[in-house]
């Protein structure tokens, strides 16, 4: 029994990381109505940028964020304004195919530069540190930190959206970019900022990913799928739904793995398809349909 509780607990903690993957995707979709197929590859790219910073300067992975966050944010802004803004319009095909093409380009560039070898961001003994909750139940300090960070970040992003001038500009532009311009909002700039914000989260998620698991240039797409599943299961109502979606995915994967290691990823996908079958709008749908 206690093993199952443990599986669920680990799943919840993993879910925090998935929610972090998903929040960036949700921001990009929420503001630009763009589903970014490159999202998983951005996460892996951030992990590799961190690897370069760590190896180049000798700082730890967390300190490397001082460099990784601005690098990814600027990259996101430039990419949005230079490449993605021109694809936005009533036709869904161009943004989809352009991000799909970018995904292949990034994967193969990473492969060319870093080879297919597995990499890891190392944080030393800290990685294995854990807290005993009961005699048989322990949580890793690092997974706990990831989870708490995810919750704090989601809270902060939600606050940005709800309470700041930038957040109002995000929502207004998402509603109606033409009228937003009449308010003096430059929608192209706002889209760039939204992508930059999403990539700040991607930077953090990438470093967490790199510390928690091995990564190589090919693991991006599966992260995209996890992020996507968390977003859809949560519904598009709020980022808290996305957090719930991430947790459900994490728990499903851990329970699957407990049954048979081969079922880990499959169980997550199946949980997603079940939610899609019974609650097509997710668990916490938005009240307004658009």
């Amino acid at each position: 029994m206690i093993e199952w509780v443990n599986s669920i607990l680990q799943g919840v903690l993993t879910g925090g990381l998935y929610a972090l993957f998903a929040t960036g995707l949700a921001i990009i979709f929420g503001v630009m109505r763009l589903v970014n197929i490159t999202h998983g590859d951005f996460i892996v790219l951030a992990a590799f940028v961190a690897l370069v910073v760590v190896e180049g300067t000798g700082v730890g992975p967390f300190i490397s964020l001082i460099a990784v966050i601005p690098i990814m944010a600027v990259f996101g802004y430039v990419l949005q304004r230079g490449v993605l803004n021109p694809t936005l319009g009533p036709d869904l095909l161009p943004p989809l195919l352009v991000t799909f093409g970018l995904s292949i380009v990034i994967q193969n560039l990473l492969l060319e530069v870093f080879s297919a070898d597995s990499q890891r961001l190392k944080i030393g003994a800290f990685e294995t540190l854990s807290i005993n909750l009961t005699e048989d139940l322990a949580v890793g300090v690092f997974p706990l930190i990831i989870f708490v960070t995810a919750v704090v970040l989601i809270f902060a992003i939600q606050a940005v959206f709800n309470r700041t001038s930038l957040g109002r500009a995000f929502r207004a532009t998402s509603d109606d970019p033409v009228t937003a311009q009449l308010m003096g909002i430059d929608h192209r700039h706002v889209y760039g900022l939204a992508m930059a914000l999403a990539l700040v989260l991607v930077a953090i998620a990438g470093v967490f990913l790199g510390v928690r698991t091995n990564f190589d240039p090919s693991v991006g797409p599966s992260r995209l799928l996890f992020a996507f599943e968390a977003v859809i299961m949560g519904g598009l109502g709020s980022l808290w739904g996305t957090l719930a979606g991430g947790i459900i995915l994490g728990v499903a994967q851990n329970i699957g793995a407990k049954i048979d290691p081969g079922f880990q990823i499959l169980a997550g996908h199946i949980a997603f398809l079940v939610v899609l079958a019974i609650r097509p709008n997710g668990l916490f749908p938005r009240t307004r349909d658009d």
Binding site: L93, P94, L224, L266, L276
Partner: protein, 342 residues
């Protein structure tokens, strides 16, 4: 169909000079290709087989995305399913390899129904990623089936291979002709479909979903029919592909590269036309022969070209050509010709 008005006569034109000239050239080309077993060497025939099945896959994806607006990045689900159905039918039933191809297609069509039930709940871009999830489920699911080799895969039994034809050159010829037949059938069906009343409805949906709905075109039904038909075609092509490979594993069968390649081909060639995928396939193979040695750089180049085309010339290379010289080899649209009064 001719309408006379006070100002002159309009007639609806469906063929073009290019299409009539093209038809003659096409028949000559077909005879030439059908005779390949008598003039081509083994390597050439293998290359042609690959060109045929990639072209057939591209036509299927183009019908799905370019006409029905269903941008799937998970068609490898059906490619892999077709491969596994070929193996399952050949190993566990007395059905011969050749018959397994259409049979696999039918299985694919049946399987596509519950898949559509799920992924059609996702709108727009999310549909694309949903189809990808389904393909991953297929991959992970087939990896669990031990009788089909589990995660490591399985080879086609020698007895089944012998059944196709006794000699190696005989097998090559059979597989080549089957591949040629499959690609011709696929193009003929797509062409026929687009010229039919349904094709007109599809084009209307592609051009404006709202407007077509207001004209009484049942978008959902039309899209579902296309989805099922494309599943049929893609699964059959998948069976063909793995007939040429003689070995299957989940990673190879459900490889996203089946879809990636086809997307690049269609985007570069020109989405939403029959000619586009043909041009795209030719370009893909022409570039691949000299560039394959650069490996990943070739994929990077293809990705960049696709991105640039989508940004600068979304109608693709064929779109540019057709616009410049008003060429159409597969005229699916109806055009009005105005004849001034005498």
């Amino acid at each position: 169909m001719i309408e006379a008005t006070a100002q002159g006569r309009y007639s609806v034109i469906r063929s073009t000079r290019a299409s009539r000239g093209g038809a003659v050239a096409g028949i000559v080309l077909l005879l030439f290709l059908a005779a390949a077993p008598w003039w081509a060497d083994r390597a050439t025939m293998r290359l042609l087989v690959e060109i045929f099945y990639i072209l057939a896959l591209a036509q299927m994806w183009n019908l799905l995305a370019g006409y029905a607006g269903l941008v799937s990045v998970g068609q490898q689900a059906f490619v892999g399913l077709g491969g596994y159905m070929l193996f399952a039918l050949a190993i566990f039933t007395p059905v011969g390899a050749a018959w397994s191809i259409p049979l696999a297609g039918l299985i694919g069509a049946v399987v596509s129904l519950p898949v559509a039930f799920l992924v059609f709940r996702l709108r727009g871009h999310y549909f694309a990623i949903g189809t990808w999830v389904v393909a991953e489920v297929f991959l992970l699911g087939f990896a669990q089936i031990q009788t089909l080799g589990g995660g490591s895969g399985i080879s086609l039994p020698v007895s089944v291979v012998r059944d196709i034809a006794a000699s190696r050159s005989g097998r090559d010829a059979v597989i080549y002709l089957v591949a040629l037949a499959v690609v011709i059938c696929i193009i003929a069906i797509v062409y026929g479909l687009l010229r039919s009343r349904h094709g007109l409805a599809l084009t209307a949906i592609r051009d404006s979903e709202e407007a077509s709905a207001s004209l009484g075109v049942d978008n959902f039904r039309a899209k579902l029919m296309i989805y099922i038909f494309v599943a049929f075609g893609t699964t059959a092509i998948g069976a063909l592909i793995f007939l040429t490979k003689l070995r299957i594993s989940p990673a190879a069968a459900f490889d996203i590269n089946w879809t990636t390649t086809v997307i690049f081909i269609v985007v570069i060639g020109g989405i939403g036309t029959i000619e586009g995928p043909i041009i795209g396939t030719l370009i893909f193979f022409l570039l691949r022969e000299p560039l394959a040695q650069f490996g990943t750089w070739y994929l990077i180049l293809l990705g960049l070209v696709a991105v640039v085309i989508m940004l600068k010339a979304p109608q693709g290379i064929w779109g540019l050509v057709a616009e410049r010289w008003d060429l159409r080899f597969f005229p699916v649209q109806r055009r009005l010709r105005f004849e001034p009064p005498d």
